[in-house]
Amino acid sequence: MSALIETEKLTRVLPETVPVTLVKDITLAINEREFVAVTGPSGSGKSSLLYLLGLLDRPTAGRLRIGGRDAEPMNERERARTRLSMLGFVFQFHFLLPEFTARENVEIPMRKLGRLARPQMRERAGELLSSFGLGEHLEKRPDQLSGGQRQRVAVARSLANDPPLILADEPTGSLDSKSSEQVFAILENLVRERGKTVVAVTHDLDMAARMDRSIHIVDGKIG
């Protein structure tokens, strides 16, 4: 298996009056079709690492390669383009656009990328949502869905452009146990059946134990 993500001494320091180190000297490689947990106590830098891997934040030192490409020289537009085509995010809170329906939310990344015609986008969004058991809720807005349903819509949205890498920040953190299990099963299925790479930040050590491997972060470093 080839590495989809590689980091070398990746460091992120907030330039405050007293500099705050979020992530320090993290060197890792995540391969294709891996299901990786990032664990650690609160404030250890798990989410910060995820935002760096997802090109939402820039490291203050170290190197990051994503899909074999060095992220350092990418400008803001290139980083956005990479997020759009190669990455899918799932956050702890669903982060859906409240004015749009479930189907429209899933269509948004596709419309931005513009690879498909509108009817194909609609069809794909419907298929994705149906595959996550949301076939009857396509035209509902987020406030008409339960927490678990919203999170499944968010997972469907992350897959809209068929990216190879899904980054999930506490995807089950705000869900009850039943919904958590459903979402976990979906993420696992993405790796096993659809060949995606999933990196998920989680507090749940039981859940992390069921993944391919765990990266444990303490005080911004791999512990």
């Binding site: 935002y51 939402l56 934040d57 085509s85 982060f95 859906l96 004015e99 749009f100 948004i108 990344p109």
Partner: protein, 413 residues
């Protein structure tokens, strides 16, 4: 519908009441600007039209712009001249036949030669000072402001020959004379001659209605003891805007002062320019106020939609898309306000055009508000509105584009 436009519409539709207030703010600004521009432009056009209609477009008189050169100045390199005394030069325009023939050959319009002198009109025991103007009726009809303004008699009565005179109705009432009465004209040279009032005109211009008397050119020449003399050529052009060029050429060729109507009314035209500057400044101020309304709503939306900005950025929207999104929201409000404002402007302008009244005390009659219907007013007001909307939208849009999605996501977690 493009995605960004779709999101923009969703955002502003989500704040219906605030959006409506902002749109109405722009619409009122645009509507009032259009109505004000129509009224001011109408007033200006009416004023200029009166100037152009009542004045000759080019007035050639027997005066010189600069003092005549003395023969000694031509004979010697350096000359100091002192003790010059004025000469009573009453020749008028020298060789008038050649001058009028030359003008005839190229002037794009009509012209009439006349002899204008100062004198007194007497009737019964009353006297009125007047400009006594000798004219050739056939030519004068092409340039005269009085031809179509007769309350009694007609301009053609002068062409019939005889000792006829045309005077204004105000002069007639001051003299106590009426149509058909015989008045006495006294020239500056002291010569007197009787004329029968063959027409009373009313142009609405007090100075003309009260102070001008029109005779046949021959009669004026006899009255002023200046046979064959003319001292003024009045030109009406097919295109009044060509007056400065025509005046320049006529003056260069004939050597007499030729004044275009624009030059004669330079200070008035300057005042109109100043008035326009003031008008557009006021329009700009109105739009600035409307712009604050747009700024307010777009700022509120960007604040409320900070999470959406983070979502969209995490999905792969670059900063330029965020700028475009909120800029578009501002411009959409400006565009909606412009359309509504244009409709408001049309209805306000139409309502103003229906207002009728009279002002007789000033001697000028006006029976309705002068209104100018011009597409340019709508274009300018809408451009102002869209411009201020774009600026008002751009400032918060720029701020929104710079938002760090990580900070927002952390804040929400």
């Amino acid at each position: 519908m493009p995605l960004i436009f779709d999101i923009a519409i969703t955002h502003i539709a989500g704040r219906g009441r605030q959006t409506l207030v902002a749109v109405i703010g722009v619409a009122v600004g645009v509507g009032f600007s259009i109505a004000m521009a129509a009224l001011m432009q109408g007033g200006q056009d009416d004023f200029v039209r009166q100037l152009v209609d009542t004045m000759p477009h080019v007035d050639i008189t027997d005066e010189q712009r600069t003092a005549r050169r003395q023969p000694a100045e031509d004979a010697f390199a350096t000359v100091a001249i002192s003790g010059l005394r004025p000469r009573d030069d009453r020749r008028g325009i020298i060789n008038p036949t050649a001058a009028t023939s030359w003008l005839e050959s190229w002037i794009p319009g009509r012209f009439a030669a006349s002899l204008k002198t100062q004198g007194v009109i007497r009737f019964s025991s009353r006297e009125v000072g007047a400009a006594i103007i000798g004219i050739e009726p056939e030519r004068e009809s092409g340039v005269s402001p009085i031809v179509g303004n007769f309350v009694e008699g007609s301009f053609s009565a002068l062409a019939a020959g005889g000792n006829n005179v045309l005077i204004g109705d105000t002069m007639a009432s001051r003299l106590g004379a009426g149509f058909g009465d015989t008045i006495t004209a006294v020239s500056a040279e002291g010569l007197t001659r009787n004329f029968k009032i063959a027409g009373l005109f009313h142009t609405g211009t007090t100075a003309r209605d009260e102070g001008e008397a029109y005779l046949l050119l021959k009669n004026a020449q006899i009255l002023s003891a200046r046979p064959n003399a003319i001292n003024e050529i009045r030109v009406k052009l097919d295109d009044p805007n060509r007056a400065p060029a025509v005046a320049q050429r006529a003056e260069a060729e004939l050597g007499y002062k030729a004044v275009a109507w624009q030059e004669a009314n330079e200070s008035i035209l300057e005042a109109l320019v100043v008035r326009n500057v003031i008008m557009y400044t006021v329009v700009g101020a109105i739009m600035l106020v409307a712009g604050f309304g747009i700024y307010n709503i777009i700022s509120t939306i960007t604040h409320e939609k900070a999470r959406d900005i983070a979502i969209l950025k995490s999905l792969g929207f670059p900063e330029s898309d965020m700028r475009r999104l909120f800029l578009l929201e501002g411009v959409a409000i400006g565009a909606a306000g412009s359309v509504l404002g244009a409709l408001l402007g049309v209805s306000m302008t139409y309502t103003l055009s229906l207002v009728r009244f009279e002002i007789a005390a000033t001697g000028q009659e006006m029976t309705r508000l002068p209104i100018a219907w011009s597409l340019m007013h709508y274009v300018i007001a809408s451009a102002f509105a869209l411009g201020s909307a774009a600026v008002a939208g751009y400032l918060p849009a720029r701020r929104a584009a710079r938002l760090n999605p990580v900070e927002i996501i952390r804040g929400a977690s």
